[in-house]
């Protein structure tokens, strides 16, 4: 066979083709580059920097019942619970709220008393099949829920809750105080091994909680009892005026079902579960779909507008693409990637869909091992507290929609926060820092050990932040810092080890409940960081017990001042979370709250929040959705 007769690519032809290819690529690169470069920082809603502090948590409930939605002319749409939707509501079959949850996250149950951490990760919607004792409004104020009213005795240690007698399970049986007693006993039960078992310990511990969890006392000794069918009594170890706020985590389980199945996992099986909350569990396939439908037998006060909640498992990297394709109604800020935020910032239409929240008032900070050199010297810690150029970091790395500078621990809007008053203590001042280091004997960084800054499985944005901080420390102080992004459990294991294995790290904390004793409690000697200060402990624990709002806030603020001055942590920024919502997701819950945020506030679309009562789908949906969501 003659090879020359077959088609061959000659050298000349190849070189010609290559030249054309390279030339085309060069032209494309030159042509496309300049036109779309953004010039100004993204023009989005500027987050509030200093908001007025919230109204302090009320120890007694407000006088009115749950607020009704603002009056709107009657429309044709009434949902299966008999709630009439506003005039611009979409038809009933479109009243479905479709969101994503993380496909790789564990999801063992949608009830918080079964598990807190294995419930689908950030952005998942849970806690809809039971009412909680109290719930929050968008200003983070405690509202009645399953408990219509409550009061404490003179000691402040015995709380009586009057339960809503109308609450009923979807199998027809009434909800009684016994259900709540069984729920709390289950949470404390050593065989259940609740992953949130630290929560009802101090501060504001339920009586005998720790002993029951440790198996030292039988569960009937737990300080949660039923006085009668609709009266629940909760006792605390010490006076705790914030106990009602803490009780937002109390989604009731059925005493009968707990007895029948031996565990709360029945809540994850649509065939076995019953609901006394606004929704019924229709489908539960972790890694695929979780679907709730409105509960037509619901008799409580958190009457929802949305008919169905559909959750689809997806990878965070693919969530924004799915949003653009119209598959879901929102992507939360925690689910958005840095690249997604850049696309949003460059697109005016998408930027308008961004809704800002304080989310869980999360603060990122550097922390130290304060028991060992070099950070056992307060001057060294204070020197480090003067090295963070927050304004530049927010502007160029975090971007102004993702955070505001933090000079103290409590974010503006959180009870007792005092950002303005404490702003000066950890100010950016490398000169002062150098002087402090010199005093401590480390002039120019000489003799200072090389540091490794441990990160807790951070995404790219905070890796960049840490790298910038490390570079600044090296440049200004002459101290070598290496950044190491650790796997999540490896980091937490090292942090919580006694003694701690992390000398220098960066981490964040977000709220569990709306009281300063929660956030400031992180820094108690019993907390998770290696800093022991008796004065601080005394101040926080004393203020936690006080009922006089003004006086306790003053003490909390003094404690936070001490925290900033002693600097076991250097505060970097408070996270503002920019969620993105389709324009047809509307409702009063999206109006600006007391701190100026106009997104769906923590804790989101759940029984713990009254946002269920106002969120709905408007008739604009037909411009975006094709067909009805399954």
């Amino acid at each position: 066979m003659d090879q020359d007769t077959r088609s061959r690519l000659t050298r000349r032809a190849f070189l010609r083709a290559a030249a054309i290819g390279v030339g085309s690529a060069a032209l494309a690169a030159c042509g496309g580059g300049g036109a779309t470069a953004p010039t100004a920082p993204p023009a989005t809603i500027p987050p509030p920097t200093t908001a007025p502090t919230l109204a302090p948590v009320q120890p007694t409930p407000p006088p009115t019942a749950a607020p009704a939605p603002t009056a709107a002319p009657a429309s044709a749409v009434t949902n299966s619970l008999g709630v009439t939707l506003p005039a611009n509501a979409a038809p009933l079959e479109q009243q479905a709220f479709v969101v994503y949850f993380d496909i790789t996250a564990d999801f063992t149950s949608p009830n918080q008393m079964e598990t807190i951490y294995k419930s689908g990760g950030f952005g998942s919607i849970t806690n809809l099949t039971g009412d909680t004792l109290v719930r929050l409004n968008k200003d983070f104020q405690v509202q009645p829920a399953a408990a219509l009213s409550w009061s404490s005795d003179e000691t402040g240690k015995v709380w009586t809750f009057n339960l809503d007698p109308n609450l009923v399970w979807s199998d027809g049986t009434p909800v009684t105080a016994e259900d709540f007693v069984a729920t709390f006993r289950y949470a404390a039960d050593p065989t259940h091994a609740w992953d949130f078992a630290w929560y009802y310990s101090a501060p504001g511990a339920i009586k005998n909680w720790d002993k029951c969890v440790a198996g030292e006392l039988p569960l009937d000794q737990l300080g949660v009892t039923a006085k009668d069918k609709h009266t629940l009594v909760i006792e605390s170890e010490t006076p705790a005026p914030f106990l009602p706020a803490k009780l937002v985590y109390s989604e009731v389980l059925s005493a009968a079902k707990l007895k029948e199945f031996g565990s709360g996992l029945y809540t994850a099986d649509p065939a076995k579960t019953i609901s006394c909350g606004p929704y019924l569990l229709k489908e539960f396939k972790p890694g695929e779909r979780v679907v709730f439908e409105i509960n037509p037998t619901y008799k409580g006060t958190n009457r929802p507008r949305i008919e169905r909640v559909i959750q689809i498992a997806a990878r965070p990297e693919a969530m924004f693409a799915g949003y653009q394709a119209g598959e879901v109604d929102r992507v939360t800020g925690e689910q958005l990637q840095t690249a997604d935020n850049e696309i949003i910032a460059r697109d005016p239409e998408l930027s308008r869909q961004v809704r800002l929240t304080a989310a869980d008032f999360r603060t990122d900070y550097l922390f130290f091992d304060c028991q060992n050199p070099p950070f056992n010297d307060v001057r060294v810690r204070q020197a480090f507290s003067h090295i963070i150029d927050r304004d530049t970091l927010i502007k160029s790395i975090i971007t102004p929609t993702q955070g505001i500078p933090a000079y103290s621990f409590l974010m503006p809007g959180f009870p007792a926060s005092n950002s303005e008053g404490l702003k000066n203590i950890q100010r950016y001042d490398p000169e002062r820092g150098r002087a402090l280091l010199k005093e401590a004997g480390y002039e120019g960084g000489k003799g200072f050990p090389k540091l490794t800054l441990w990160l807790r499985n951070e995404p790219q944005i905070r890796q960049a932040l840490a790298a910038a901080i490390a570079a600044e420390i090296t440049q200004e102080y002459g101290i070598e810092v290496e950044v190491s992004n650790k796997e999540f459990k490896t980091f937490m294991d090292a942090l919580n080890a006694k003694p701690t294995q992390i000398q220098f790290g960066m981490v964040s904390y977000g709220i569990d409940f709306l009281d300063p004793s929660n956030m400031l409690g992180v820094w108690l000697s019993t907390g998770r960081h290696n800093w022991f200060n008796k004065t601080y402990d005394e101040m926080v624990l004393k203020a936690a017990e006080m009922t006089d709002q003004e006086a306790r806030i003053k003490i909390f603020q003094d404690a936070e001042r001490l925290l900033c001055e002693e600097a076991p942590a250097v505060f970097i920024y408070h996270r503002t979370v920019a969620d993105i919502y389709k324009p047809y997701v509307v409702g009063e819950c999206f109006e600006p709250n007391i701190a100026g945020f106009a997104g769906l506030q923590w804790p989101g679309f759940t029984s713990m929040s009254d946002s269920l009562q106002t969120l709905y789908i408007s008739n604009e949906v037909t411009k975006y959705r094709k067909g009805t969501p399954r």
């Binding site: 050593p190 630290w198 720790d210 990297e317 653009q324 598959e327 904390y509």
Partner: protein, 307 residues
């Protein structure tokens, strides 16, 4: 032959035990455990409750013996991450899906890869050859999650021709995961087939066949390909267990509820029963695949003898 297979299976049992010990030790040597503490640390008593519930309060050797004794009876325990299901149930629910996706990908990707490799070898240095080589190199070098995201953006978001993901309710759901999963193995198959065939074309017996006047198609199909198959099987055989156990990125990107994600997630969650079961599954699969490829050599090339 029977003696050989029996000997290999006995060896496999030994490998099985060795893998179980190494996996067990590595698993427990990794810091952290099944309890989650992103916020405040759990009180020691609460943490002990979790460890006791997971059977982790026993000494290590007791845990190992209990685990292996149960495993040999087919009881791999309950998954820590999915406490209502046993590990066997989770694998039983998810592996068939990975096998389906992987099986179809094997047939399509390896089949088309071998075919393209043959075409490229027959028409060496032609335009077809260069195009095929380019596609093969692309499949080999671009990571499958990049391909996956690109496919989603083009075909699901922009053109809206294909669904974003999912499994079981639309036959088109398999197209994108199959492409993302298959481009790499297809690239390997193409390259190795082409190289092996080009090598075989230089052999004396091929020149003889051509000199005898045989049609080129007969030369290729009857003489060249069979001889080129041995290196191809050696390389492609082990790709099969890779493909049928799923991969985390492609499956999670396209929401295919397969086994792939558990290989990574079970380690991150410290789901010990699942980790052990998956390690053992992989050991068994790979051992069997190597045994089958060794047996296949004797079928393809009678000169190869089992010792």
């Amino acid at each position: 032959m029977v003696a050989y297979v029996a000997q290999r299976l006995a060896g496999l049992a030994f490998v099985f035990i060795l893998v179980s010990i190494v996996a067990f030790l590595l698993m427990h040597a990794t810091p952290g455990g099944p309890s989650d503490e992103p916020n405040m640390p759990l009180p020691p008593a609460a943490k002990e409750n979790i460890l006791r519930k997971c059977g982790l309060d026993q000494p290590l050797h007791i845990q190992y013996i209990n685990y292996m004794a149960n495993a040999l009876r087919g009881d791999f325990g309950y998954s820590f991450s999915s406490p209502t299901e046993t590990v066997a149930q989770v694998i039983g629910r998810t592996w068939p899906i990975s096998i389906t996706l992987g099986g179809i990908t094997v047939v399509v990707a390896l089949g088309s890869g071998i075919l393209l490799g043959i075409l490229a070898a027959i028409q060496q240095n032609s335009i077809l050859d260069y195009v095929v080589t380019f596609i093969a190199t692309l499949g080999l070098t671009v990571p499958n999650f990049v391909i996956a995201l690109w496919l989603i953006l083009v075909f699901a978001v922009e053109l809206r021709w294909l669904p974003l993901g999912g499994w079981g309710d639309d036959w088109r759901q398999i197209i994108m995961p199959m492409i993302a999963l298959g481009l790499g193995p297809m690239g390997i198959a193409t390259r190795y087939t082409r190289a092996s065939l080009v090598d075989v074309f230089t052999a004396d017996y091929i020149r003889t066949a051509r000199a005898k006047g045989l049609a080129e198609r007969m030369v290729v199909m009857r003489h060249a390909i069979k001889n080129a198959l041995i290196p191809i099987i050696t390389v492609l055989g082990p790709r099969i267990p890779d493909l049928i156990t799923g991969t985390i990125f492609v499956e999670t990107m396209f929401r295919v509820p397969g086994l792939g994600k558990f290989f990574v997630e079970s380690v991150l969650d410290r789901d010990y029963p699942m980790i052990m079961a998956l390690m053992l599954l992989i050991a068994v699969l790979w051992g069997l695949v190597y045994l089958i490829t060794d047996l296949l050599y004797t079928v393809i090339d009678p000169r190869v003898k089992l010792t």
